[in-house]
Structure formats: structure tokens, C-alpha cells
Symmetry: C2
Subunit: 650 residues, 2 copies
């Protein structure tokens, strides 16, 4: 157990003289670990680790946490937004007992190790994997917001660098935190005034404190090397002893990059560069450490890396999904409305005793059909404003706080604008349900800047996310109810316009009462022996119409609805290819969509059939979707014609 | 010609009474056009158009522009950041004579028309296509920065909505404008306090004016319905009669959504909803317009849409590219350094008399090797801070101001983080040279959050952009010199580590003095009759090594370097496929990279060969690239083994 002075929840009014002495000792010990870790790896970020170290130690003087139960639900949360300070974070986490320092020192930045260059959740005590700057505060607001919703008492700390304050996403996060009165959120700024390229004043001057004040935060300014000042500021923020107790607080701690090692202090070169062996020796001496760098180097040569780590298991709520709604052709509904209805049902069933299903949007409640949900459970509807970057990260982290989280906006804003935030979410094993509306040319008159025709290309470039495009309101209903129950990330995309109910050959809804959506399973809407059409979304009715046209000419073409794009139903593609010519048709960029995924299946299986992709080959103009489809050749007539051409190629 | 009161450059000290009367008349006339356009299209955004209208008219009272020469280089620039106010913009542009109002009224939001739902540069007088909120100020700073660099006298106006102020990118743009003293930049805020979902105060409270002040802007607050106040504020900002004349100015104009039509005033429903026919009739009456909505509707039925529009022709500089540098194996260089050297050469040759080649980065000058360039031509090196979203838009717009613009950062920040900004750049026919370093697992110890393994999947989802991955320092040199001369957008990607010089079979540099990079042309590094390996980037040496291993076993495999990924050398893929089994290998997500593009070529040509893709199938850890490659099976041994397996499948 650590010697760190400690009173849970910052109960002690101040540190005693001997506490400060002990903290200074521990600081030197941890500083030595920072030096060792980076020099042994010959890689890493000592500078910021050393300036952040006193702040992190200060936090652990009062933090409520359980080393043996890192996911304890009432723990205070600590987010490391400047993930490159991993050596400092690991030093403190090992100091307080999460793991053995030796293991970390030998494995830091080694292939296969969990002690990565930027903090990752594989390491116990790390709440959120970071590395791309500017996202940590958004993730922290998620935990603070979750606590507020649940009336929990835990606090959320977000340690941040000063360079990353330049990222616009922080401004979005600040406003969100104020709007929702997240007074249990405490930002801690390592204000060393240097970034990788030099002085902040030279790289990008910024009045950070005024930025926070202008957004309504409390700001406490302290000497970030003075443990008493650090403790007292943390204590004040923790107990809401600030100018406006209803609001979040920033502790701006003036610090020194490379603190404690005079010959690298205030030198931005050591932001991302380790000390040489000789420098490290000298530094260890200054820090009063007896560690022998040569002995460590020898040991590192022999070290083996444990390449598999236990995955963090976040809880995922068990929810009621109720009875599916069955829509008839006469309902003339858009898929968005079916989504809104299903979401409202989920809210109705699961949010009565406690908040479980959350719905987030960015100023598009009406367009994404969250109105009913918002009426039924207003506390669980979260209006985030036109702040997509923040909201994507917020939603991702919220989905690890034991909620079912739906985030909805237009496809362009939910995928193209926030792709990198989604990427980090998936890397964090989030469980986000991203439901985007207005995808494809189907967005209509809003025009090309709003044409989301890349959602497959982008999402297929991620790992650990499923992608579904429902064909009609019934399938939308079933998909929404299904993904709500599934752990992991899901993207569900739909257009803006009304989507006719898909009927079976008996004229009944194909996706009837008994239909269940299974990821990875395609729907054989029509059988046929002459070949197949594989379609998604608004192209499904086009495919069915083409089927009818061809049937009248004696050509029987199978029609498959590939609603589950990721995972793709490979077996169905094989079976369809056995029938003969194959065409894929989609309201998506022709180069990176369904057609491309299907082509990859075919070529890898060495299936040679006449094959054609139909899709979007340029941005369209503003206009009615059907006219835009005509302009790009995405019509039933053209599809039928293409199929006949392929038949002749056999 | 318009009746608009006008003195070029806001020379007149104030408006006269009759000027104001005339402006009120014109406002009503333009308001009627807004109503007509949206009601006729049954779609569009009347609310914000009406509140912005007086501001736009005010600007055109003093703007220096030439209707017959929209691209006149000394013109004052006007950016419409809230692109949905297109009906208001079109009304004013037609009023001042850019085009016939009737054409616009009949074609607004019709498929194929240039009068899109959000302003597009197809329409003369529009500087930048917008629609995704929050990007306009960044684009405007580009023009203002260009003017400053060239010591030009023109001013840049950016009209903005208040809802979009929530986007973080604005904070980035504000800081950039202050850092570079862009005092010829004038932001004009349509402060109607409503956004699509309701009151700003409810959706996302924000202290907009304090945000601007905290970032160092001058702020003028006016009544946005009072033409005299509008004129005087614009005049002050235009002539630097503000608190700090060295800084940009925001004019915050308090306005009314739906202004001038009492029954929709301050109703956020009409942000994005047209008036009904009856409402429009009533509105036209109130506005004193004699237009007959029924007659217009009848005419609209018959209207034909001109679907092809002249593309805007921006100038692109002619530059010297000098003599290629030839690197030998002994140079042991990374591609980044070769890029840095070529860039320095371009700066040296082209920036002596006037700035022509610009280099932008986001706090990564050293890592992306812009140091030499920055030393040679410091004024042309633009350090943008950790503000990638702003910088991507800035760089895109700058590339249309007659500069050759290189923007460099790590792949993760230059592609994943800014994808949507790149998308809008390509849609704006930009000429950006985006050169990203540290792509792939090659980023090494920085770990998975920094692993850019989706650059092909993402960029292939765009239009109008080329993508090249140089194999070695020599090819890097040639590619950089080539893309500098090409109009249009280019992405060039490279890893972090040293890249061995690729040699021909005679042991000489393959990319020698006489080599010229041609987009769309693959390099046959080795011939072979038993099949082929298609490789890019750091996998090229791996492929060459596998070639050697196989050769020793009597197997002759051709090795192709597919440096030009977009456009892909389809002919080379066909030819290679004739040889037999084919393997693609890349330091990229296996699902959406080179292998996928090649698979698409094969299947569409019905070429059936044993085919295998090798690439990245999960995020790797931190570590040395070669170890990470081993973990993912991306080794020469494994590649050779795979090839032999395919041979047996023939």
C-alpha cells in the first residue's frame, strides 16, 4: 500500500507538514519512474508527465477509489485527457497499488504490452483511452452527467494539457457542462505553457482562463508545484466551495515542463523525447534515486511481454424491448418515425424507475424524431446543441456508464464530421447506438453538402462496430429494438423520405410480427433463378420494382435486402452468386459501399459471375430524391436494363 | 443595375434618409423573393434568410466587387457561413446583378439547378460552398490571411448564424485570426437567438460575445434591423475604427428570425420551413409585393432546369519544381525528410519575389519535417496550433487564393479527425496538397490511438482527390514535386520510419533521375511469371524481400508498387492478374484499403485468380513497427508462404 497521505473525499482541511514531505518524496520516486520508463523504452513523453505529476498525486490524496475494484460504480473518476503523459499516470497508478511498477517499467511502449504510449483502458485505473488531444473533457462530462442523472455523489476529474486547449471540442464540452450544471466535474489544467513545438505564446496564443470564464466555469489559479495549494484547490472544488457552486470548476495549475530535473525544465524538446542514458543517470541522482539504469537496461533485454490482457468488462443494462410495432402499407411512414416510435417505447418501458435509455441529439430533435421520447422521459433526452464532436465522445463514454445510449443526427454530422471521435469510441469498447437519419441522396433538397454517401466506407474502416440499413419502417422497428439489447457499437442509417412497407409475395409485410433482426443475415425478399439484385435502404423498393419488370419479361431475379451491411451475410452472397449475374444497388458512393464489400467476398471466393455495382458516382444537386436518383441512373428501369445486359454476358 | 445606395469601400460617412428608405424598399423586395423561392420549392429556410437580409444588404452598400468579374482578385470577399440562408443570399446577389431573379425563383432547390439549398460556388458571387455549420469563419480567415500575406487591401466578411457559434471550430478560427493579426476580417453575426430546435438559451446557452472577447476580437453590438447602425458598424470595421485596429472585428447584430413578416417573426418553426401558399400570399401583401404566387407556381411547373453550369476557374500558380534529389541507399532516410527537402526546394525556388508555396502544420513542424522550409521562407510557414478542423478548412480555401498549399500533420489528425472538412474542400474544387506522415502501424510507439490505417477507405469515399503512397525517399521527392504542379486535391501519405531506397535489379535506385511520377501508373519493380504481389508504402521492401525468398525457391513473382492508389492503375492490375496468383499487402485496414480497390477491379473484369489480401486486421499496440508488423503477419516470410499457398490453389 502506498505511503501517500490520504483522506477519502478530501475530508482533511489541509495537508500537514509531514504530508507534504511525504508527497515530495513520492513525487521524486515517481519522477524516477517516469525517467526510467521513457529512457528504457527510448521513447515517450517525460516533460508533461513531470509537470502533471504533482497534480495527479494531489488528486490521489483525496480520491475515492478501490484498487481491487477499479470499476466500483461510486468511485471518483479520473480522466487523463493528455494521454501522452502515460509515464506519469502509470507511475502514480503503480504507486497507489494498481499494478507492479517493475512490470510497467520493463514493458512501457513495447509491442504487445498494455503500457502503451498513450494511456489505455487495459491498464486498471485508466477510465478512457486517449491520445488524440481535446477529447478528454467530453468523456469526463459524460461521467459527470451520468452521476448527476443518477444523483450519485462521485466527482469526475479531468487532467488536461494546455496545448490541447486549442482544440475546439473543449469549448463544446465546456458549454455542455455548464448547461447541465455539472458541478461535480473538476478540470485540472497542467499549465506549463509549452507544447511540442515550443511556447504556447508562439504556437497559438490563447487566453485559456478567460475562455473558461466566458463559458461560465469557476476558475481557481494555483501554483502547480505547491502540494498545499494543489490540495486546497482540489478540496474546494470537490466540496463546491467555489464562486458558483452550481457550476464546474477549472483548477489552472501553473507548472513546469520537466519539473524536478533542472537540466530539462522548461525545455519543450523533452515534451516527446526521452533522456539519454547519461542524462537519465544524472536525473536519477538529482531525484535521490538509487536505481541503476544499466541493470534495468539489461533486464529489459530479457523481458517478455504479456500480450494478452483481460478486457475491461463494463456493465450493460438489461432492458425490455416490448412488442414490435407492425406497420401496414397504408401507414405511409418514413423510417425515422418508426425509429422515433421504437425509441419512445424503449423509454416508456425502461426509464420509469431509473434512467436507463438515453437519447442524445444536436439541435435536430424534430428531424430525427426524438420528440415522443423527449416528452415521455424528458430527463433522459439530452439536447447537446450544434456540437457534434463533443457529443460523439460524450455519447461514447456515456454508453460505458451502464446506459443504453442512442445518439442521432443527420448522417453527415454523425459519421463524416465525427469519424475520429467514433474511432476512439470503438477503441474504448463503447456501446454506442448511433442512429443517423437523412443519409444518402435521400436527404433531398438540402443538397450535396448534406449528402451522406460515405457511411459504409467510413464505418467499414473501423473495428468493433456493426452497420445496419433498414429497408422499411417494420425492419427499422426490429433493428432498433435489437441493437438496444446488444453490447457493442451499432450504426443504423436511414433516409429522410417515406419508405414503403416491404411486402412478401403474398402482399403481407415481409418484416411481420415474427420477424427478428439478426446481424449478419440478409433477407431473401424474392427468389429467382436467373441471378440476383442486392439492395439496401431506399434502393430496396427500386430492386423490387425491377424484379417486377423483369418478371414480366420472363426473367426471375432474386432480390436480397442486405440490411446488415456489417457483418455482411457472406453465405447469402455466395448463394446468390450461384444463381447467375449479380447487381448491387445502393444510395452510397459506388466505390466504397455495399458493392465494394460484396466484390471483396466474390473475388476472395473466386466466384466469377457477371457483376455490376450501381450507386452514387458524384455529388448530386439539391432536389427531390427520386429526381436525384434518376440523374444517377438509380431507377428500376435502369436496374432491369443492367441486369439484362449482364444476362447476355454469361 | 441595382438601386442599392452604394459607395465603394464604405467611403460615405453615413447613410442619408433617402438611402435608408431605398434600403427598406429593397429589403421588402428581397424578402418577397425569399418567400417566393421557398414557397415555390416547398422547401428551404426563410427564417434566417430574413434576419440576415439587412446585414447582407448593408455589406453590399460598400463592398468592392465586380458583377462581371466575380473572381476579381482585389474584390472584398463575402462568405456565407450559415449556408442555409441561401434564399436571402440569392435574393441579394440577383438584386446586385449577378443573375436573373426569375431563373433563381424557378430553379431554387430543383434537381440539377445551381440554386441549391445551401449556397454553392456554382452561383456567381458565392465564395465558398457551405452548409455544414461552423466552417465559414475558417474559410474567411484563409482569404484574410492571403490578403495579409500579399499586402492586399481587400476585406473579408463572414456572415454567420448564432446557432453555429456552438461549433468548436469557430474558437479555433478566432484564435488563428488573432494570432495572425487579421484585422481585415469582419465577422457579422445574425444574432436572432433562435436555432432550428428553439431558443439558443434552451438548446445550448452561450455567451457568444464574451467568447469572441476572450479570444481577443473587437466586438461591436448593433441593432441588426437598423440600416444606419449596420452601415456605421460595417464602416468602422472596414476602416479599422475599432478598439484594437490590429485585430479582427465581430459585428453582433441583434435581429429577428422571420423579420418583416409579423406572423412568422421569432418563430423557430420557420427556420427550415417554407410558408404555405396562403401564408405566402399574405406575406407578399404585407411586403407590398404584387407578385402572384399562383402565376409563379404555374410557371414553375413548366420550368426547365439548366443542369450544367460553368465551373468556377480559380487560378493555380505556375511554379518551378527544380531538379529532383537523388537519394542513395547509404542516405538511410525516412520519406518525411525527403518530403521536407523537396518542400524546402519548392520554397527556395518559388517564394523569393512573392509568397507562392505555403506550408501549414498543427504543432508538428519537426515531426512533419517543415523546419527547413520554415527557415528559408518563414512568412510562408503557417503554424496553426492544435486546431486541425480549422486548419483543414483554412488550407482548403487558401488553395483557391492562388497559392500552392501543403498541409501536413500525422495521418490520424489530417484524415480521420478532419475528414468532413476535407470533404467540403473537395466539393469546393480546392487544390489542397495534404501530406500526412506517421501513417499506418509505422507510427510505432505512439500506439493505436495514433494508428492511421483508414486513409484509403476514407479518401476513396470522396470525389476529386488523388492519393499517393510513395515507396521510398526518391519516389517521395518526385511525387511532391509533381503534385505541387497539379491542380486539384492530392493526399500523399508516408510512415514515420526510415524507408530503404528501392533498387532495380541492377542495384541502382529504381526511382532514378529520369523517373517521373504519373498519377494512375504503377511501378513494376520486379517482373515474374508465376504471379504478383501488389504493395504500398512500408510493405514494398517486405514484398521485395518475399520476391527474393521465392526466387531462391524457383518461384518468379512480379512485384508492383501501387504508389498511385487513386487513381489506381487498372491496366497494371489486369496485366498482373494474367500472371497468376495475386496478393496485395499494405499497412492499412484490410477491409477498405488497396486490397479492396484491387478486388473491385478483378471482380468487375471477371478475372478469377487466387487472390489474398494482407493488411491490418485490428489495432496494434505501442511498439516498434517491425514487431507490430510481425504481430499482424505482415512479414516477408509470411507473404512468401501465402503466395505459395495460392500457387497450390491454381
Amino acid at each position: 500500500m502506498s505511503d501517500l497521505p490520504y483522506t477519502a473525499g478530501f475530508e482533511a482541511p489541509c495537508l500537514q507538514e509531514q504530508d507534504i514531505q511525504r508527497l515530495e518524496e513520492i513525487r521524486r520516486k515517481c519522477s524516477a519512474k517516469i525517467v526510467l520508463a521513457t529512457t528504457l523504452a527510448n521513447s515517450g513523453h517525460p516533460g508533461g508527465s513531470l509537470s502533471t505529476l504533482p497534480l495527479l498525486l494531489g488528486i490521489y490524496c483525496g480520491l475515492r477509489y478501490r484498487v481491487n475494484e477499479p470499476q466500483w460504480s461510486d468511485r471518483d473518476r479520473v480522466f487523463i485527457s493528455h494521454g501522452h503523459t502515460s509515464p506519469g499516470t502509470y507511475a502514480v497508478l503503480s504507486e497507489v497499488g494498481y499494478f507492479d511498477a517493475k512490470e510497467m517499467l520493463l514493458q512501457f511502449r513495447m509491442a504487445g504490452s498494455r503500457y502503451a504510449g498513450h494511456v489505455e483502458t487495459d491498464v486498471p485505473g485508466v477510465e478512457w483511452s486517449t491520445g488524440n488531444l481535446g477529447q478528454g473533457l467530453s468523456a469526463g462530462t459524460a461521467s459527470a452527467f451520468a452521476g448527476k442523472l443518477r444523483k450519485a455523489s462521485y466527482r469526475t476529474f479531468v487532467l488536461m494539457g494546455d496545448g490541447e486547449q486549442q482544440k475546439g471540442q473543449l469549448a463544446e464540452a465546456r458549454r455542455f457542462a455548464v448547461k447541465f450544471g455539472l458541478n461535480q466535474l473538476i478540470g485540472v489544467l497542467d499549465y506549463n505553457r509549452l507544447q511540442i513545438g515550443g511556447k504556447i505564446q508562439d504556437i497559438m496564443p490563447q487566453n485559456i482562463l478567460e475562455n473558461y470564464r466566458s463559458d461560465g466555469w469557476n476558475v481557481l489559479e494555483i501554483d502547480g508545484k505547491d502540494f498545499q495549494a494543489i490540495y486546497q484547490a482540489l478540496r474546494k472544488a470537490y466540496h463546491h466551495e467555489v464562486a458558483d457552486p452550481s457550476r464546474p470548476t477549472l483548477i489552472a495549475a501553473h507548472s513546469i515542463m520537466g519539473y524536478g530535473i533542472p537540466f530539462i525544465e522548461n525545455d519543450h524538446e523533452y515534451h516527446g523525447k526521452p533522456l539519454s542514458k547519461d542524462q537519465a543517470k544524472e536525473a536519477l541522482k538529482i531525484l535521490g534515486s538509487s536505481e541503476d539504469i544499466n541493470a534495468w537496461l539489461a533486464e529489459k533485454q530479457k523481458a517478455t511481454i504479456a500480450t494478452s490482457h483481460p478486457e475491461i468488462e463494463h456493465e450493460y443494462p438489461h432492458i425490455e424491448i416490448g412488442t414490435p410495432r407492425l406497420y401496414q402499407s397504408t401507414d405511409a411512414l418514413d423510417n425515422r418515425s418508426a425509429y422515433g416510435n421504437a425509441l419512445a417505447d424503449l423509454g416508456q418501458m425502461n426509464n420509469t424507475t431509473q434512467p436507463t435509455v438515453l437519447a442524445l441529439t444536436c439541435d435536430l430533435m424534430g428531424s430525427v424524431k426524438m420528440n415522443s421520447f423527449a416528452k415521455i422521459c424528458p430527463a433522459c433526452f439530452v439536447e447537446c446543441g450544434i456540437q457534434e464532436h463533443h457529443t460523439a465522445t460524450l455519447a461514447g463514454r456515456l454508453s460505458l456508464e451502464n446506459f443504453v445510449v442512442f445518439f442521432s443526427t443527420f448522417g453527415v454530422f454523425g459519421v463524416a464530421e465525427t469519424y475520429n471521435q467514433l474511432r476512439l469510441n470503438t477503441f474504448n469498447h463503447a456501446n454506442l447506438k448511433l442512429v443517423c437519419t437523412h443519409i444518402g441522396l435521400n436527404v433531398g433538397e438540402d443538397g450535396p453538402t448534406h449528402q451522406s454517401i460515405d457511411y459504409i466506407g467510413l464505418i467499414a474502416s473501423l473495428f468493433q462496430i456493426r452497420l445496419a440499413i433498414p429497408a422499411d419502417p417494420n425492419q427499422t422497428d426490429r433493428i432498433i429494438r435489437k441493437v438496444a439489447c446488444l453490447k457493442g457499437n451499432d450504426f443504423v442509417g436511414m433516409g429522410r423520405e417515406k419508405a414503403p412497407v416491404v411486402l412478401n409475395e403474398q402482399g403481407q409485410p415481409f418484416f411481420g410480427k415474427d420477424y427478428e433482426y439478426i446481424p449478419g443475415k440478409a433477407d431473401w425478399l424474392r427468389n429467382g433463378s436467373h441471378g440476383s439484385i442486392l439492395a439496401i435502404g431506399p434502393m430496396v423498393p427500386v430492386a423490387l420494382e425491377a424484379h417486377g419488370i423483369l418478371q414480366k419479361q420472363g426473367i426471375q431475379v432474386a432480390v436480397l435486402n442486405m440490411a446488415s451491411v456489417i457483418p455482411l451475410d457472406i453465405q447469402a452472397v455466395w448463394s446468390a452468386a450461384q444463381l447467375g449475374p449479380m447487381i448491387t444497388i445502393e444510395d452510397h458512393h459506388i466505390q466504397t459501399g455495399l458493392g465494394s464489400l460484396v466484390a471483396n467476398v466474390l473475388v476472395q471466393q473466386r466466384i466469377s459471375v457477371p457483376f455490376r455495382k450501381m450507386g452514387v458516382s458524384r455529388f448530386s444537386s439539391s432536389g427531390k430524391p427520386n429526381t436525384l436518383y434518376e440523374h444517377q441512373g438509380l431507377t428500376a428501369m435502369n436496374l432491369a436494363q443492367n441486369f439484362k445486359e449482364l444476362l447476355h454476358q454469361r
